[in-house]
Amino acid sequence: MKKTSLLITVITIILFMLPFFWLKPGEMDLGGDSSRLYFYDPGDYLQSVILYGYAPTDKGGETTVAYALLPYITLLFLIKKFINSPTFLISLNNGVNVSVAFLFVYLTVKEFLRVEGIGKDFKITIAAILAGLVYVFAPYNTYGWDRVIFTRNQIFLNPLMFYLLFKYFIDQKKIYILMFLILTFIFSFNFSYFGAPPFFAFYPLSLLFLSLYTKYIVKKTVPIKGLLIIGVIFLFLQSFHLIPSIWGILSPGSLLRQDIVGDKTVFSAGLDYFLAVSPSLKVSTSFFNLAQSQNNALHLLFVIYPITIIFGLLLSKKKTIFLISFFFLIFMFFATANITNVGYSFYRYLFYIPGFRMFRSVDGQWGFVFLFFYCILLGLAWGIIFNRLKNTFVYIFSIYVVCFLIISALYFIQGNTIRRILYPTKGVSPVIRMDPVYEKALNYIGNIQPDVKLLSFPLADGGYQLIQGVNGGAYFGPPIDSYIRGRNDFTGYDSLYPFNDKFINAVYNKNISSLTSVLSYLNIGYVFYNSDTYIYNDAFSNYPYGYVTNYMPVNQEGYKKFIEKLPLDLDKKIDFGEKYHLYPIKKDIIIPHIYSTTNDIYSSNPAHSLFSPEIDGLFPSVIYNVSDFRDSKDTLILEADPISPFLGIKNNYHLHKHYPFISRSINSSLYPVIVLKEQINLLRKKKIYDVFLDYSLYVLSKRILEINESGGMTPILKKSIKPPSVLEFYNPYRYSSWEASLARYESGMNTVIANLNNSNMPQNLVGKYKIIINEQLLQHQLKLIQIINGLTASESDKKYLNNYSDHMFARIAKILDLKDADPSIIHYHLELPVNTNGDEYQVIMESQNDAFDSSYQKYIEIGGNKLIANANNDANKENFGSIRINNRNIDFTLHAQLKNLMGDSQWESSGKADTATSSSVLITQNNFGDNSGGLIKKIDGWLPNRQYLISFEYNTEGNNFIFKLNQRVGEQENVNTFFDKNLNSTSWKSHQSVIASDLKSKDAYLQFLPGINNRDMHNMHIRNLKVVEVVNPRISFIRRTLQKKAATPKIVFTMINPTKYLIKVSNVTSPYTLVFLDSFGSNWRLRNPHKQDNIIWKLLIEKFFGAIGSLVEKASQTGEKKDKIIASYFEGNVLETKHTNVFLDSHTFDTIGKQVVAGDRHFLVNGYANAWYINPKDLDGKTNYELILELKTQNIFYVGLFISLVAFLSCIFTLIMDLFKRKYYNK
């Protein structure tokens, strides 16, 4: 073996072996967003995730993501057959990544240098080796080996594929391209829809580079014809995942389609994300070949890279390095997106191209490609420089580079890169050794019927699961039982949608009836509880349990008590050690995965109506959305829409304080330019009022704050002026005066209000925006008072400015004309479906809180009628009787007195106060000077997560007083101040404030303090002080079913695989609904297996593929009896037979071309599930028949897989033939 080859082999082997030292035997790093559970058990992962276009988590549903992993996971599965160790498999994968990456960067650089004609010398070989090592040990490459995603294989695929393409372009030999094609098949995920970002980042520009290089530097013909053929073969090879993905993209309303062309995704998840991350992208960091956001003193040594690149460019006599440099700079442009303002804007505008959203994570998507071209350029530069240097210099330089590479990559070499501590813990490693007790539980779950769903506790925010390893590490990723055992597991709050809020509120309110309904309608059969305190403690409290802990038990003790209250069959509880417990749900509450019903209900809010007691007598039922109403006499549950200005005010947004950055004071010569720029921006934002208002309030805050920035140099004209135009900047005395600034402010506010008044928005929205504007006015007014009184000006000037400001805010308030809201009259709107007006509706109000004053008789005014609540109502609902509604659209009002929370508690005061009642006048007299004093009164009955309205009348006799509202939050009882407002009046004036209490709010206090410049004894009079909870109770109009329902057909269903069910229906006498409790997907089809629609399909596909299927079936015959009944529901009306999990058999293609049943009557029901409304004539009036429920994309996958396999085998055959020919000719 030559010296060079030996050196390369040794380095490659060392690099390959390196990851084998990272993990101790039995250790695995399996977590992450997409997890790496395929290393743990590739066989089961294939079965659960890959083979079927079905998401195995929570509510199930269609997906095409995982198909593309089929060849790679199959390869892992075959390897694991021989080496039964996940640790080895992970190390092998990492070893291949590192060693192959090095080898092919080396070979590519070497090849470039060979073509340059300087590749023979050993020192040139050293340049190529160094380039390979730089690639492997680059900071960008050495971080992020923990929780990796599937496309991470691009680390070695980019150099490998580039080298094969390079060789093909230069030598034009078939063998390279065949190897290229075979590799694209094995690592299909990197060429799939979800691997599109690295694919589009690398291949188009690389192919362009190779074409230019071949044509203009090597002076050879670009093999265009060959490339076209390769393109076609490539598409054939990738058919098994591309065709289902394309089908998904073309399906209207599909998630894939929204992902590409949806406005929301383009701008919210694309551009917004880019704008947020782009400021952190640094061009200088990229020049030093460093990873973004990593700083280390050692990184200064990396300056050697750009220096040597420039020297290489200076010394080169050939074009190659310039072309590489040119492309390197193109990749750098994309990898930083921060090259000049024009370049930045250019990248921003690229988001208008459909699909460009995939490059929103600039560094993440372009980083590897940039790094590859960086190393190629560096290798070439070093080759050129080394060619002119003596060997000794080359060796010294090489030792220097290798040393600092090793030192800077020690973190990687030692394997710490896969042990990055789990956020937010301080020391929990993501590397685990699986707990055998948990594995036992996992195996048990794998053996319960496949068609069952689980709910896991402790519940997380997102769909994550935490499992402790025996080595102290923790698995943090998607549910293992879903990905490995194929059991739909609800592990997070999000996964419980659309019942997630209902669920956590039910837990919080201990409403077991609602919890039972959630379990039933989500088809949950078991509760899996991990009682390990290690995974549910303070270390993980912020993440992944941050939000849910506001509602769910805060510790494992609480969970144990909570679980006991659930409708579980506690006698059949199975314990796995002390930590893992599996509880079956009580049989009588389980609703089967598939059922039939004739109890059709239409609701404007199906996810809520499922819990309504109004449907109690209609079990089993299905709840359609009212938009799908079929003009029938079925039960209707219509919720009226509350019309309230307070509804749109979320999270106290209206109290938001702007803190604009004041870059120029109003005295600055550049100030007119800034004002002009703001005017242009306002014009651009005028179309959407929300955006316009937000920016206007931001700018107007600036108008107030910037006066303070002039250091007391702002002139006072002592006369009011109009807002000066930009052209008047030549007169700074006038242009930058107090009056000019306040005139600009007043004019801006008037424009905001005028735009609101002139808009066509509904009154409740106008009211909402007026509240927001009013809150900002109060904030600005207080700030202005503070600024004026902090001035080093004469008292007369201050008095003048205070007066000026008071008058200005009074004028604006008059224009705003915000009327006091009366929360005791609540407005509603109701819209009836077609042909239902004239029917009689029962009016029910849900009143789950005690905000109302029970001594007051509630009533509804509707269409001139007054409906009074019945006296004998239960705690949760009030019946207002029945009414015949004649109009389809109707407005009405609810009249109800709300409890005043300002009860009899005493005012606490460091001064003197008379006790106030709601009717008496409170006179406060104070002389306090700090914020802790004043008059304080506790609000009785204050609750967390509620909205309150505070109203009172006041007279301050012309003095300033501050009004504050404070709440105590959390266990620490920290005091938060919602707002402080200035009150000043010379006569009685009313005030209202609306606020929402915090999720962890304990109690709240009103506080009145003397205002600025109010240190002497002064009186403040307050009367009619009220604090009431703002409520918009749900009012439903219910039309009971007007016809006698026919008997429900009997159902026997069998799961063939997760994408296919056989349903036997009997006793059909009338139309009915077939419900499938899985996430709604437009590609689910119901077929009649005995009626052919398309004979060509039958001949072409069913016969051909059926033959293949029967071969597979014969090979895997188990002889198990398939019709064994395993569960019975609804008194035997729905039977479930033993499930199978058949990927391919002689019946797999039976349904191709078969008649689609009720294709146009496939609806989203129960807020998330699938249902088909089936008429007897759909099946020629038969009373007993069979139906097949299947996912269409799965059939498409079978066809695509066949094409791909044929193409793959053809490539393998051609490669073998080519190698054979070479051997033969060589002989």
Binding site: V283, L300, T340
Partner: protein, 120 residues
């Protein structure tokens, strides 16, 4: 040993003298003005603006045309900019000045690469 050292120094001097043509006086004056513009932008102004970049690029294009400047001169400029970028990086990390220097380096590397492709 002394002879060996002498030999090394001679080799190094030989290596440096290869860049002698870059120091032609007529180029140097204009290039110095351009360098001063760039340094002024990097070190004195806190605002990022493209105007100065396009202005200097225009001026440099004029120099390239007028004095038939080769890519070598451009890459020499790159070395100077890199020096300032490194100094800025050393003292202030990825500050605005470092970033501005990096953008100048990018621009001149791009110009030099295009010159290199066209010339050879």
């Amino acid at each position: 040993m002394n002879n060996f050292l002498l030999l090394k120094i001679r080799t190094s001097v030989k290596f440096i003298t290869k860049f002698k043509p870059l120091l032609n006086i007529y180029n140097l004056r204009l290039l110095s003005i351009i360098i001063l513009f760039i340094l002024g932008d990097i070190l004195l102004f806190a605002v990022k603006t493209d105007l100065i970049i396009f202005f200097v690029l225009g001026l440099y294009y004029y120099c390239v045309k007028k004095y038939k400047l080769a890519s070598d001169q451009t890459f020499t400029m790159c070395l100077i900019i890199l020096f300032f970028m490194f100094i800025e990086y050393f003292f202030s990390g990825t500050s605005i000045a470092t970033e501005k220097a990096a953008v100048w380096l990018f621009v001149f590397l791009l110009v030099g690469s295009i010159q290199g492709i066209k010339a050879r």
